[in-house]
């Protein structure tokens, strides 16, 4: 007869109050008892599974884990008592217990993940927002339409190898008239009624003085554009403003021709107003260029058929241009036999009005935000 020992272990089982023994594990050394152990373990597992089904939050999972696998958990206690078994039986029982432990851990883990998922889903459900609320944006500002147009024009000429220059708005009569082949008492002075500060100083009525200042400061080749404010004694109405903006261009080199003028300005018009626009050059008079030209673009509204905005001629005048007058070259010390060039000038307001369909020049200087924010 094999001596037998009766072993009674009190273990709390999941779902029961702590330390309240509700299940007595009898352990026997013999086969019979071994079988009993196996049954008990199965029972534990079953009990745990049923407990897990009841469990709804992570806290209870943790509690169950402690009750089973914690220091005083049922599986731990069983493992601790393994030593009481006979050496032959111990491996088998140990293996069984360890396997069970693993299985329980797995079950707990699975349930844990399940609950975590449920819980986070539940949490998200409580975090709803009204996505139609406005975004917390920084209202982006806008560039003034005149500067928008100037920038576009500048970009075109920069890409054609021109350089940006600038000059004073309060200018000497010399740079504004005399050096541009408009001596005192020249009839062309009537065309521009200027604001004078003194006899010899005025608010420039055109950006052309920048041409002279540039040529005085550098040797050819010259290829510049200059933009800026100009002033004329015009009373304010829908097409006139005492202050306005001009874009001036100048190219001087050894072999520049009237054909180059036509080529460059045609490229400009096509980039600014579209490839389909027709460009027309016709004779015009500006004392500092000769031959002088007026540049027309086919009407943007009627495509050249004739409408109210183009005065039924199908063309819109957009700039003045011409080959630089030899006298202008002489005045800055360039030899007109060696050098030639072309110059052009246009009004930014007019270009902007044509491009954006604006019909009143005053809008540019009233600075109404409802206007400005459109650009």
């Amino acid at each position: 007869m094999v001596p037998r020992k009766r072993l009674i272990i009190f273990v709390p089982l999941p779902g029961e109050e702590n330390y309240k023994p509700f299940f007595i594990l009898s352990r026997a050394i013999n086969d019979e008892e071994g079988i009993l152990l196996e049954n008990k373990i199965k029972e534990i597992k079953k009990k745990i599974v049923s407990e897990l089904n009841r469990i709804k939050d992570l806290k209870d999972i943790e509690k169950l884990r402690v009750e089973c696998l914690g220091r005083r958990g049922v599986v731990t206690l069983l493992l601790r008592k393994l030593g009481m078994l006979s050496p032959e039986e111990r491996p088998k029982a140990g293996q069984l217990l360890n396997q069970t432990k693993g299985e329980i851990e797995e079950l707990l883990k699975t349930k844990e993940v399940e609950i975590e998922k449920l819980e986070s889903e539940k949490k998200l459900q409580g975090e709803g927002v009204d996505i139609t609320f406005p975004g917390r944006k920084i209202d982006k500002g806008t560039i003034h339409p005149i500067n928008l147009v100037l920038r576009e024009i500048e970009e075109i000429f920069l890409s054609l190898g021109f350089k940006m220059e600038e000059g004073p708005e309060v200018e000497l009569d010399y740079y504004n008239f005399e050096a541009l082949n408009i001596p005192k008492d020249h009839p062309a002075r009537d065309d521009q009624d200027s604001f004078y500060i003194t006899k010899d100083i005025l608010l420039r009525p055109q950006t052309s003085p920048v041409q002279i200042r540039t040529m005085e400061n550098q040797k050819p080749p010259v290829r510049i554009i200059a933009t800026g404010k100009c002033y004329r004694r015009d009373a304010t109405d829908s097409t006139h403003s005492p202050m306005f903006h001009q874009i001036e261009g100048l190219a001087v080199d050894k072999d520049i021709t009237f054909g180059d003028l036509k080529g460059i300005l045609t490229v400009f018009v096509h980039r600014m107003f579209g490839k389909d626009r027709k460009v027309r050059f016709r004779p015009g008079y500006f004392p500092f260029v000769e031959p002088g030209a007026e540049v027309d673009v086919s009407c943007l509204l009627c495509e050249g058929k004739g409408c109210r905005s183009c005065g039924y001629v199908g063309w819109l005048e957009i700039m003045g241009a011409g080959s630089v007058h030899p006298r202008v070259l002489e005045m800055v010390g360039y030899d007109p036999e060696e050098y030639s060039g072309f110059a052009f000038g246009m009004g930014a307001e007019r270009i902007a009005m044509l491009k954006y369909g604006i019909n009143d020049i005053r809008l540019f200087f009233e600075n109404d935000l409802r206007f400005l924010k459109q650009f």
Binding site: P134, I138, D139, K140, G141, T142, I143, H144, N147, E154, G161, F162, K163, M164, P168, E169, V170, D185, P187, A188, F195, Y196, T198, L203, R223, K229, Y231, R233, P242, M243, A251, D253, D255, I256, T257, F258, G259, D260, K262, G263, I264, T266, V267, R280, F281, R282, P283, G284, Y285, E290, P291, A293, S323, H325, P326, F365, N367, L369, L372, K373
Partner: protein, 809 residues
């Protein structure tokens, strides 16, 4: 210059339509400003002859006329008195249509039947307003002929814009010459047959030129026994087409000849020229003249006048005097056709503020050879129309005023300027050029090979050098035929210099900060200085003054952008804007007091302003914009420009809240200001809410903007952050605390950030508690707690000593 299609046809055959003609002229540089088709709805209006005039039996004011209309004699009642038996008149028949009146019906005037109507010039639409009497036709008018055969009522009026270099186009003949170039037909100038009497001109007039420089040529004729009266129908009609108003036959003739030939004429009443002497001289001090427009004018010293032996009788080339005016009593006239210097004319015109058709032509320069043609043409017409007798001989002080000049034209040069030959074949090019020049009435002398000699006609004073001829060639050849080309080679240059790039960058940042760019006038009113609280004598009040400003608002050049932008805010808040955030990149203009005749200093300023009165949306409602919003904008701009070293000191600008404004200092120099605009200023502009402002003096900023970026090695060792709160007196500036903290160990202390402020009873009324986080980091090692603790202790001690601060950790 106004002219009509039919009128031009009298001088040149035209085989293209009016519309086509206008288009071709525009392409040749004679720009059409306005084109108007005219037609008058006149029907059943014919030429008749008065055979008898009786007074109406019941109304003395009316005449009962018997009018022969070839087929029959009509009885017509007429209110006018200017007709006599055998006069040819214009008869509107029963059922006739007249433009103003409508359909004419026979009707009885106090029991006397009137079968039609005798027409005046205004009733025919020839003259504006109301004519004084009925229209009397010339003797040679054909009885019974439809009036539409005499006057071409259907016509096209052209109004050409004449450039100041082409005064020759201010005449019918001038325009007709350009038409001739287009149509290739020959110009038909009116022929003149002068019938001179035996009596010599010298008997009645002597002309002395005392100012030959201003009057290089003076010509004249005497015409006697004239009859001043209404102009004939054809002349009235022509004047209408030319946009002029008929006055009397003599004045109308001089006006018409001026518009036909471009030569202004003046007719004096010969009998009112004292001493029978015309003296062309400069005016003397104190002289006055009453001009035709009934204005008594002080004569500026040394301006050219036409005088008799006693006093000035005309402003040379501008306007005649009232005294010697032609009127109904004038019997004899002296007709003047002169060449006055354009420079003198311009100056006088400017001084008088008086510009006339005549002065406009003189000041641009008239044909040097047309004086006699115009004089004789007018004399001829006065003879024919006003029955005047032309004395024999004429005054002409300088027959050789026009000196033809030869200009060498190099064919190669044409090619060089235009970029191409007019023809592939060089000799054909030469022929084409000669052909164009001939069309323009330039004389061409075949030169030897390389060049040709060209002599421009007398009416083309604007053609002085080779380039002027090249322009004429290009103009007539056609700009459209010149091939567009692009530059032969590129030049390497920096398109945008650093300055332009920095402006762009600043502008982009401001837009990114939500500011809208504005552009305002550079002008200001002197009133704004009071409005923005600039005290008397302050340098900002020293602004550049514009001579004769158009309005007070445009009388000074601005020295500050403040008023400009406040006006914009006002404009927008007046229009219910709840949030205004604006900026401008614009100049101010500062006079150089030490050099009054030099150009002012123009400084580029970047200024911005923000104002919020509305609630805004759900997120914005709690946010009120204050000085730190505006300061933040400047900081962002500086950040964008990589400008890192600058400091802020309290400011003293009078336009700002005295305790809420600061100056930005870089390298000891003021680079900008910011702050809250003074409530008084806001009130002066009637702006609701507060305005916070910044401005950056771009010229001062630019030298501090780095032009390139240098990469710094990233730190290898971790940083340690410690917080401390400092209880200090209210007036101590945060920046001084930060500077002091950093000064403890410039190497180790990387960053000091103010993250909280507390004020309250617990710490005492005049105290504040500022909380900072301090970041420590070494480049070569991980800092130990001990190291950080030591430095931190030093910070505490220093703050306690320096600011009498209480420290809480």
């Amino acid at each position: 210059m106004q002219v009509s299609y039919n009128l031009l046809k009298e001088y040149i055959d035209i085989d293209i339509s009016a519309g086509e003609l206008a288009k071709r002229l525009t392409i040749n540089g004679i720009v059409l400003e306005r084109m108007e088709k005219i037609s008058t709805k006149i029907e059943k209006v014919i030429v008749g002859r008065i055979t008898a005039i009786d007074q109406h039996p019941e109304n003395k004011k009316l005449s009962v006329c018997q009018v022969d209309i070839k087929e029959e004699v009509l009885q017509i009642i007429c209110g006018a008195k200017n007709m006599k038996v055998s006069d040819k008149v214009v008869v509107a028949l029963e059922g006739a249509k007249l433009p103003q009146i409508g359909i004419i019906k026979s009707k009885k005037f106090k029991n006397v039947l009137s079968s039609g109507m005798l027409c005046s010039a205004s009733e025919l639409g020839i003259e504006p307003g109301e004519s004084p009497g009925i229209l009397i036709l010339e003797e040679d008018a054909v009885l019974g002929e439809d009036i539409r055969k005499i006057i071409k009522f259907d016509d096209t009026i052209f109004d050409f814009e004449i450039h100041s270099n082409r005064p020759d186009l201010m005449s019918i003949i001038g325009i007709a010459r350009e038409v001739a170039v287009i149509t290739d037909n020959k110009l038909k100038t009116p022929e003149i047959k002068i019938k001179e009497e035996d009596e010599r001109i010298e008997k009645d007039i002597t002309v002395k030129i005392e100012a030959e420089d201003l009057c290089p040529r003076y010509t004249g004729r005497v015409i006697k026994n004239i009859t001043v009266g209404e102009s004939p129908l054809w002349l009235k009609w022509k004047l209408k087409l030319l946009g002029a108003r008929p006055i009397n036959n003599i004045v109308d003739i001089t006006n018409f000849i001026m518009m036909e030939t471009g030569q202004p004429l003046h007719a004096f009443d010969l009998d009112l020229i004292k001493g029978k002497t015309i003296i062309v001289r400069r005016s003397r001090t104190g002289e006055t003249i009453c001009t035709l427009d009934d204005v008594e004018r002080q004569l500026p010293f040394k301006s050219l006048v036409i005088a008799d032996i006693e006093e000035p009788i005309a402003l040379a080339g501008i306007m005649g005097g009232k005294h010697s005016e032609i009127d109904q009593n004038t019997k004899n006239v002296f007709l003047e056709s002169a060449y006055f210097s354009s420079v003198n004319n311009r100056r006088s015109t400017a001084k008088f503020g008086l510009r006339t058709e005549a002065s406009n032509r003189f000041e641009k320069g008239i044909d040097k050879e047309v004086q006699i043609y115009a004089l004789d043409r007018a004399a001829d017409l006065i003879n024919k129309i006003a029955m005047g007798k032309i004395s024999s001989g004429k005054i002409d002080t300088n027959k050789k005023l026009y000196q033809p000049c030869k200009i060498n034209l190099r064919i190669k040069r044409v090619n060089r300027i235009l970029g191409q030959l007019l023809d592939k074949d060089e000799s054909k090019t030469k022929n084409k050029i000669i052909n164009i020049l001939n069309k323009l009435e330039f004389k061409v002398v075949e030169g030897k090979g390389e060049y040709i000699e060209v002599i421009p006609p007398s009416f083309r004073g604007d053609v002085e050098r080779e380039i002027d001829i090249i322009e004429e060639i290009a103009r007539i050849y056609g700009y459209d035929k010149i091939k567009p080309t692009l530059f032969n080679h590129t030049i390497a240059q920096e398109g945008k210099n650093f300055r332009f790039k920095v402006i762009d960058q600043a502008r982009e940042t401001l837009i990114g900060c939500g500011l809208n760019e504005v552009i305002t006038y550079s002008f200001i009113s002197p009133d704004i200085f009071d409005r923005i609280r600039i005290p008397e004598g302050h340098k900002l009040r020293n602004a550049i003054k514009i001579k004769d400003p158009m309005t007070k608002d445009h009388s000074l050049m601005r020295t500050s952008l403040i008023s400009s932008l406040l006006e914009v805010i006002k404009w927008n808040t007046n229009r219910q804007a709840e949030l205004v955030k604006i900026f401008e990149v614009g100049k101010i203009y500062l006079p150089c007091p030490e050099k009054p005749n030099s150009l002012p200093q123009e400084k580029l300023i970047i200024a911005g302003a923000i104002n919020k009165i509305g609630r805004g949306d759900i997120w914005e409602k709690s946010l009120s914009l204050d000085i730190f919003d505006i300061k933040g904008i400047i900081e962002t701009v500086f950040q964008g420009l990589k400008v890192e070293i600058w400091e802020v000191v309290p400011g003293n600008h009078p336009a700002f809240h005295p305790l809420r404004n600061g100056k930005i200092i870089m390298g000891g120099e003021e680079v900008g200001i910011f702050g809250e605009i003074h409530p008084e200023v806001i009130n002066n502009y009637r702006i609701p809410g507060k305005v916070n402002w910044f401005e950056i003096d771009f010229e001062n900023l630019l030298p501090h903007v780095p032009s390139d970026i240098k990469y710094c090695v990233l730190p290898k060792y971790p940083s340690v952050e410690r917080d401390l709160a400092v209880i200090i007196k209210e007036e101590i500036l945060s920046v001084d605390i930060i500077k002091t903290i950093k000064s403890i160990d410039e190497k180790l202390i990387k960053k000091v950030t103010l993250f909280d402020i507390f004020k309250g009873k617990q710490i005492g009324d005049s105290f504040k508690s500022l909380a900072y986080s301090v970041v420590f980091q070494a480049e070569d090692r991980t800092l130990t707690d001990h190291e950080v603790g030591n430095t931190f202790k030093k910070i505490r001690e220093k703050l306690m000593v320096k600011f009498d601060a209480k420290i809480r950790e």
